[in-house]
Every structure is written in structure tokens, then in C-alpha cells.
């Protein structure tokens, strides 16, 4: 009689946990990708740990504190490593709704990952999307700070250059304009001797002294 009951229970369990069954989820692990040489083999003990973690997650849901490890069923374990699991209710008749399982797993995803030394990409629950960590956003974007610094430097440099330019021009304008007029009149009558304009050698503020030619051809060779 007991054997019959046992077979009945396993049969029902087998029906409840099947690929693409109602409220069943597929799990995929990539242990070798994550851990390389330190990869552990997937055996029944690891499966037991997995069942325990799922039961733990379900126990945190308000109405489901009575969930036991035996309520979590695993099936179709492949070489990949991938398998399907369902959570059945204490009456062992039907599976818990997918939405409940989904939200429970999502809330405790981090703990489950850590139990297996994996992360969201290497321990995948298909159809249970993980909440991705948002990138850290500082209150003031960094680029504005750097922009502000460079902007201020450039403005200060421009102001300094403009001010020094104005100061230079004011110094030039301080020379009496009358002197310039007479000098202009003199320059209209330039005497030329030997191709060199005879500009007086006395210093005029800011004029090129043509007597000192930079081009070599203009000077008479010795």
C-alpha cells in the first residue's frame, strides 16, 4: 500500500514538473564560464542547495512561510547545466502561481547568486528578468564640473588679454597727435638716394626705420 502511494506521489510530481509545464521555470547555469578552473561539478548536493534557496525565497512571501524543501521539484537536468523547477503547495496537488515564484526569486536573487558564487548572467532564470543595477549617477554630472573649470579659465584669459590690449592702446594714444601730423607732412617728400629712401635717422615712436633694411639686396655691397 505504501509503495503504491509512493509511486502515485512521484507520478503526480512527475506530471507537475515538466519542461514548459504550467508555473514551471527553466534555470540555466554556466559554472565553467563563471569560475573557470575553480568550477564545481553539478551533482545532487548542489541540487539540494538550490531547492533550499528556492524554499528560502518562498518562505519570505507573506502566505508561504510553510514552504519546505520537498515542495520544490527539479526535473530534466541536462549537461548544460539546465533544469526545470516548480514549487508545489503543501497539499501537493498543484503548483504555486508563477507570479508569486517570480517575485520571490527576484527579491532574493542576490542571495541565490551568492550561494552558488555566480551572478545574474551565469545563473539565469528564464522568464524571470533580474533587476539591473543602475549606473551610479552623481548629483552633479562630472562633465559639467570640468566644463565649468575650463570655461572660467578661458574667460579669465580673454579678459586679461583684452584689458592689456586696451592699456597698450591708451599708452600709444597719450602721445600728442600734433607731432604725428608734422611728421606725416615730412614723409610725403621722401628724397631717394641710391635707391634708399633718405628717412631721417632720428627716432620716431613706432615707425619702421627704412634706413635699416633687412633685405640684403637693398644695401650696396662693399
Amino acid at each position: 500500500m505504501l509503495w503504491l502511494l509512493f509511486f502515485l506521489v512521484t507520478a503526480i510530481h512527475a506530471e507537475l514538473c515538466q519542461p514548459d509545464a504550467e508555473n514551471a521555470f527553466k534555470v540555466r547555469l554556466s559554472i565553467r564560464t563563471a569560475l573557470g578552473d575553480k568550477a564545481y561539478a553539478w551533482d545532487t548536493n548542489e541540487e539540494y542547495l538550490f531547492k533550499a534557496m528556492v524554499a528560502f525565497s518562498m518562505r519570505k512571501v507573506p502566505n508561504r512561510e510553510a514552504t519546505e524543501i520537498s515542495h520544490v521539484l527539479l526535473c530534466n537536468v541536462t549537461q548544460r547545466v539546465s533544469f526545470w523547477f516548480v514549487v508545489i503547495d503543501p497539499s501537493k496537488n498543484h503548483t504555486l502561481p508563477a507570479v508569486e515564484v517570480q517575485s520571490a526569486i527576484r527579491k532574493n536573487r542576490n542571495r541565490i547568486n551568492n550561494a552558488f558564487s555566480l551572478n545574474d548572467q551565469t545563473l539565469e532564470f528564464l522568464k524571470i528578468p533580474s533587476t539591473l543595477a543602475p549606473p551610479t549617477d552623481p548629483s552633479v554630472p562630472i562633465w559639467i564640473i570640468i566644463f565649468g573649470v575650463i570655461f572660467c579659465i578661458v574667460i579669465v584669459a580673454i579678459t586679461l588679454l583684452i584689458l592689456s590690449g586696451i592699456r597698450q592702446r591708451r599708452r600709444k594714444n597719450k602721445e600728442p597727435s600734433g607731432v604725428d601730423d608734422t611728421e606725416d607732412k615730412c614723409e610725403n617728400m621722401i628724397t631717394i638716394e641710391n635707391g634708399i629712401p633718405c628717412d631721417p635717422l632720428d627716432m620716431k615712436g613706432g615707425h619702421i626705420n627704412e634706413a635699416f633694411m633687412t633685405e640684403d639686396e637693398r644695401l650696396t655691397p662693399l
Binding site: P134, I158, D216
Partner: protein, 555 residues
């Protein structure tokens, strides 16, 4: 006695100014693209031939004109013949168009530079979607670097018709870029110094075009720079040095660019293989780590024969990973600089450092060229007595920068990148060819080649080699005419002009037709600079006739 013209402190300053003007972004993002499209190393043959036959002679001509006439482009050509001052005006117009849109590139370089000080680099990760279960849809379909360029930097609209508003972030960067340019030109130009397929006719045409535009002929910048030279300086030597350095920079840049291409192609190829392996591993529940790059093909064959139905289901999703197809993706322009390079940089170690260095380099190149451009605009303005008597040169520079900056805000709107492409493709191409052609003919035939030759001899003390004379008088004008005819016929034959628009829903570029008003804008752009030459000549002719008409009754 007129005020002494400011001079370069020493010839080296002048050479550096010319080099920093000629070596620009085109060396980095256009030349490597052309090499790749037209046969790799063999593209160097038409390139070097065109450099010797077209680039150096025309560069020497522009420098010699500037040094002889000692004025900016408008004044220089007015001295040759008053009817030809339209050439100078056209040069200034083209320079003005260029300065409007070119500084936007510097703005983008600033934007990327400021964003390089973050860990991780913002273009290496996709932002999350609304409920934080996955990544943003547009970013998934395209790539994180493309998303950062099209969405975060440009916030591009789906077509040129949808204008959108001015984006404040690129607008700020544009303002900063113009402030930096103003800072450099504030004190006048003298302070800026203190920087195969051989039978394929297209290869030759592109080599000629690349040399032409890479050296920056026709904008009036070289004339402006040379006008501040001592009359005796050896501009022949300078012309050769500048053109050789410009070309070697292009070649060096293409070596770097090809190694970046190789890195990116290898990385993407390995990524592709990994994705295919993962897909097969998951579909057939194979052991994790079983599939490697070496056994991928035979495993695929085994699976196809063992599980034909399942394999045919998953087959459409299996991409054929090929290193050759990754290497064949050739990109030029802003796409290369801001998408391909950033993608390669984000995968390197210490990516923040490489990113900062790279965008700093782009900025140096861009600002160097901008200074040459603004010199081309400012030198004729400061030479003109009407303007310079009323305003000090700081005010003139400030006004030019302000106007260009204000108009440049158009390029920071959501459709701004499409207008940028219009300006980039059409503002300078045809007009420059015409301007340089008229320049060459003006100097050789209107001013007289013999007269110019004797002027140069008196100025520099060196006789003009026969090579330059032959090039100026014959070969170079013929080349320019053929280039001009080719481009004109190309535009006419192509029918309606098309452009690439970014489709956010698909995450890729689609080809669209320009609307009527955009075509009108293109026509206006080309016409406003080319028509200057005949219109100004006509205007001067009419003025002279009127003056002669007034004078006749008196006489």
C-alpha cells in the same frame, strides 16, 4: 606712412601655423578611409603623384601671392586686378561657411573629452530601460557607442524636417569652442603661430581631391598667413615642407587608424563567435564550455545532421562570423572619429587615459584648422581701412566669432547633424575648385607669369624653377578643370541628393531624400560663394563705367 604690417617672429612660427592649419581632421578621418576604399597601399601612388603635380605647386602659388601682395585674399586679388577682387570675397565667404560648421566638431570633441573622466566610460554601457529589467531598446538594437553618439550627444531627430530645439549641452560646448578660438586669435594672427586600383579613375580623382582639400587651398588662409611673412622668406621651401608634413601626417594617421580597425575587428569577431557559441549551447543544452572557436564549425555540422528540425529553427539567428567582413566596414567622417574610435577605446585597458588623449588630439587638430580659417576671414577685414578705422581688432574678432557662434547654434538642434552634413559636403567642394582655378589663371595670365616671376626673384632672391612655371601655367589648371567637370557631372547624374538619417526604432541609418528647402539651401550655399566672382567683377565694371560717365563731361 602706413602702419607696419605685423610679422611672424621667425619663419618657424609661420611654418608651424601653416602645418597646424593644413593638418586637420581630414588627415585622420578622410585619408585612411580613402586608402581602404581604393586599394590600400596602392592608393599612395596616385596620392603622391597628385601631391607633386597639384598640391605643392598650388600651395607654393598661394604662399607666394600672399607674400608678394602682403595683404589678405581680397586685397591681394584687388592688386592683381580690381575685377578679380570677387575671388577674394568668394574665399572669405567659403571660409565663413567653413568656420560656421567646423567648430561644431570641436564642440563634440570637447563634449567627449569632458565625458572621458568617468568610470566606466559613458559610451561603453547602455542605460537601463524604464522598469530596470533590461537595457534601453534603441541601445540594444544599435550599440552603446552609436547610442551615445546619436542619442546622448546629438539627440538626433528621425529626419531633417523635424527641427527640434537647440540642445543646451552641445550649445554650451560650442560656446566654449568659440571662446577658445577667440582667445587664440584675439591678439592677431602673429600670435597663432606660437602648431591596384591604379587603373580606377575614381582612385585618381579622390587622390586629387584629397590633396586639394587637405592642404586647405582656396580658403585664403594660406594667403593670409603668407602676407605676414618677411618678403624675403623662402616660401618655396616652406611650401614643400608644409605639403610633405601634411602628407606624412595623413599616412601616419592611416597606420594608426588601420591598427584601430584591426583591434576592433578582432574584438567584434571574437564577440560574435562567443554569441553564436552561447546560442548553440543554450538551444541544444550542450555542456558549458564545450564549444570553442576551433570546433564550432564541426559541431554545427553535427547538430544540423542530428537535430535537423531544432537546428533549422535556430539557424536564422546564427550569424556568420567573419573577420574579413568586420575589416571591410570602412567609415569616414564623424562616424569614424566618434563611433569607431570610441568603440575601440572602450575595450582597451585604462580606457579613460586613451580617451582623453584621443579627444585632446582631435581638439588640437580642429582648433589649429579653425585658427587658419578665422585668419582667412579676419585678415581681409583688418586690412580694409573702413572697418579697421572704426573698430579695434579685438572687437572685429569678437564680432566674427559671435556671429559664427550664433549661426552655429543651428547645428546643435536635433536635426543639426543633417545640416552639418549638408555644409560638410557642399559648402566648400565646388566653390573651392572654382576659386583656386580663377586664382591660378589670375596670377599666370592676368597678372602675368613673367611679371610674377620677376617679383618673386626681387623679393626672395631666388629664380623660379621651370617646374613651377609649367605646373602653374598648364598642368594644375587642367587638373582642376577636369576635377570640376567630373564633380559637376557626378552631381547632375546622381539625380536627387540623398542623406543618411538615424532611425531610432531600428537602431540604424536609413537613406532618405532631401526635402525641397534643403535642396534650395544647398544650391544657395554653392551659388553664394561661386557667384561672388562674376558679380563683384560686374559690380566693379559698372562702377567704373559710371565714374567714366561722370568724368567725361568735365574733361
Amino acid at each position: 606712412m602706413e602702419k607696419a604690417r605685423p610679422l611672424w617672429a621667425n619663419p618657424l612660427q609661420f611654418v608651424f601655423a601653416c602645418i597646424s592649419y593644413a593638418v586637420g581632421l581630414g588627415n585622420v578621418w578622410r585619408f585612411p578611409y580613402l586608402c581602404q576604399m581604393y586599394g590600400g597601399g596602392s592608393f599612395l601612388v596616385p596620392y603622391i603623384i597628385m601631391l607633386i603635380v597639384e598640391g605643392m605647386p598650388l600651395l607654393y602659388l598661394e604662399l607666394a601671392v600672399g607674400q608678394r601682395m602682403r595683404q589678405g585674399s581680397i586685397g591681394a586679388f584687388r592688386t592683381i586686378s580690381p575685377y578679380l577682387s570677387g575671388v577674394g570675397v568668394a574665399s572669405v565667404m567659403v571660409s565663413f561657411f567653413l568656420s560656421m560648421y567646423y567648430n561644431v566638431i570641436n564642440a563634440w570633441a570637447f563634449w567627449y573629452l569632458f565625458h572621458s573622466f568617468q568610470d566606466p566610460l559613458p559610451w561603453s554601457v547602455c542605460p537601463l530601460n524604464g522598469n530596470r529589467t533590461g537595457y534601453d531598446e534603441e541601445c540594444e538594437k544599435a550599440s552603446s557607442t552609436q547610442y551615445f553618439w546619436y542619442r546622448k550627444t546629438l539627440n538626433i531627430s528621425p529626419s531633417i524636417q523635424e527641427n527640434g530645439s537647440v540642445q543646451w549641452e552641445p550649445a554650451l560646448c560650442l560656446l566654449l569652442a568659440w571662446l577658445v578660438v577667440y582667445l587664440c586669435i584675439l591678439r592677431g594672427t602673429e600670435s597663432t603661430g606660437k602648431m591596384e586600383q591604379l587603373t580606377n579613375p575614381k582612385a585618381w580623382i579622390n587622390a586629387a581631391t584629397q590633396i586639394f582639400f587637405s592642404l586647405g587651398l582656396g580658403f585664403g588662409s594660406l594667403i593670409a598667413f603668407a602676407s605676414y611673412n618677411e618678403p624675403s622668406s623662402n616660401c618655396q621651401k616652406h611650401a614643400i615642407i608644409v605639403s610633405l608634413i601634411n602628407s606624412s601626417t595623413s599616412i601616419f594617421a592611416s597606420i594608426v587608424t588601420f591598427s584601430i580597425y584591426g583591434f576592433k575587428a578582432t574584438f567584434n569577431y571574437e564577440n560574435c563567435l562567443r554569441k553564436v557559441s552561447l546560442l548553440l549551447t543554450n538551444t541544444f543544452d550542450l555542456e558549458d564550455g564545450f564549444l570553442t572557436a576551433s570546433n564550432l564549425e564541426e559541431v554545427k555540422g553535427y547538430l544540423a545532421s542530428a537535430y535537423p528540425s531544432k537546428y533549422s529553427e535556430v539557424f536564422p539567428h546564427i550569424k556568420n562570423c567573419s573577420l574579413e567582413s568586420e575589416l571591410d566596414t570602412a567609415v569616414q567622417g564623424t562616424g569614424l572619429a566618434f563611433i569607431v574610435y570610441t568603440e575601440a577605446i572602450k575595450n582597451m585597458e585604462v580606457s579613460q587615459l586613451w580617451s582623453v588623449l584621443y579627444f585632446f588630439m582631435l581638439l588640437m587638430l580642429g582648433i589649429g584648422s579653425m585658427l587658419g580659417n578665422t585668419a582667412a576671414i579676419l585678415t581681409p577685414l583688418t586690412d580694409s581701412k573702413i572697418i579697421s578705422s572704426h573698430l579695434p581688432k579685438e572687437a572685429i574678432s569678437g564680432l566674427v566669432c559671435l556671429i559664427s557662434c550664433a549661426i552655429g547654434m543651428v547645428f546643435t538642434t536635433e536635426a543639426g547633424n543633417y545640416w552639418f552634413d549638408i555644409f560638410n559636403d557642399y559648402a566648400a567642394t565646388l566653390s573651392l575648385l572654382l576659386i583656386v582655378l580663377v586664382e591660378t589663371i589670375a596670377v599666370c595670365y592676368v597678372y602675368g607669369l613673367r611679371r610674377f616671376e620677376s617679383d618673386l626673384k626681387a623679393m626672395t632672391g631666388r629664380a623660379l624653377s621651370w617646374y613651377w612655371k609649367v605646373m602653374w601655367a598648364g598642368v594644375s589648371p587642367l587638373l582642376i578643370v577636369s576635377l570640376f567637370v567630373f564633380y559637376l557631372s557626378d552631381y547632375i547624374l546622381a539625380g536627387t541628393l540623398k542623406y543618411q538619417a538615424w532611425e531610432a526604432s531600428q537602431g540604424q541609418l536609413v537613406t532618405k531624400d532631401y526635402p525641397a528647402y534643403a535642396l534650395a539651401a544647398i544650391g544657395l550655399l554653392v551659388a553664394s560663394s561661386t557667384m561672388c566672382i562674376p558679380l563683384v567683377a560686374l559690380g566693379i565694371f559698372v562702377l567704373r563705367c559710371l565714374k567714366r560717365g561722370d568724368a567725361a563731361p568735365v574733361a
